[in-house]
Symmetry: C2
Subunit: 191 residues, 2 copies
């Protein structure tokens, strides 16, 4: 049986969207007994323009087609990325948008969470470079709620991937992201 679940992380170059997606792909592979995963990025002429995206597919069955065609979960960090990539969101999907970089909230047939991802990286951690780790924290809480992947799988993969000496910083950013989404789910539970 196929249980395909498509994830897209999108933002601008420099926000670490590829690393975030690589971590989501590896976390499933290394820490789940049931999920296969494929992670990919496609570059065309638009790659010069600024909206970056990176995708991950999870499935209990082998994955034939590795691109996302209608993402079940999107994590979008800029308005440009939102404008470019919101259109193919699956019905009933969940979309997390950054609350300072995405100001025009799209209409979708699904659930939107407008969360302080960049602000948390800047203000609580003091290092905007960890914005992708905050974003991964929010994703981890969501994927836990969907019973797809344990948060510890993602956190362990982060700790194995980031440069030595930065583990604590990245773990803190991840934990903050997790808490933000946890609060959001208390106010607006998943349908």
């Amino acid at each position: 049986m196929s249980n395909r679940f498509e994830i897209r992380v999108a933002g601008s170059g420099g926000q670490g969207v590829i690393l975030a997606a690589v971590i989501l792909g590896e976390a499933a592979a290394l820490h789940s007994d049931t999920l296969n995963s494929v992670q990919s990025q496609a570059y065309g002429p638009e790659a010069r323009g600024g909206a970056a995206k990176s995708e991950v597919i999870y499935d209990t069955a082998p994955i034939d087609y590795p691109k996302a065609t209608s993402p079940n979960f999107q994590l979008i960090l800029t308005q440009k990325a939102c404008d470019s990539y919101i259109g193919d969101t699956a019905k009933g999907a969940t979309v997390i948008l950054d609350d300072i970089f995405v100001t025009e909230i799209p209409q979708i047939d699904g659930q939107i969470y407008h969360l302080p991802i960049v602000r948390t990286a800047r203000e609580k951690i003091g290092r905007e470079i960890v914005v992708n780790m905050v974003a991964l924290g929010t994703a981890a809480r969501f994927l836990e709620e969907k019973k797809l992947l344990a948060p510890s799988a993602i956190k362990q993969t982060i700790l194995a991937r980031v440069p030595k000496g930065t583990e604590e910083l990245n773990a803190k950013a991840f934990d903050e992201g997790y808490s933000i989404m946890d609060e959001a789910l208390k106010k607006q539970p998943l349908k």
Copy 2:
């Protein structure tokens, strides 16, 4: 017209094969006027085992299928990865193998270069962590010879991607790799 060219980078976890492939994907997207690229990694149960692979497709036409089915160029850094991934090499392909970690040279209908990639990272640079940058240097010389991509495109992408403060180390590793392949091509030119 399609001019599909499939690249696979393979080794063990920790050798940076994903970053190497991400850089090859981005370099084509950002610095070539003609190439599209797609970069992907697939994880299945075997991801727990140790042979890591990461793939890049270049094409002048849009890329429908993002996985490598018969790589035209492989860069292989361990025996296990060689055993796992040599089988589907395209006819006439070029394969670069690390000369200490790959000791059993496979038979292929193509060209094999057995090069001191890990040794160069260890001995000339003094940091085995840059093995993927040495590997990218060898790839850059090959892709230049094939008239697919300028070495400067890859080097610029590396410099934009690596952590601040490590640019010089990574550039040196890249340059060493480039020289190794340049020497190899003098002895054994591409057919």
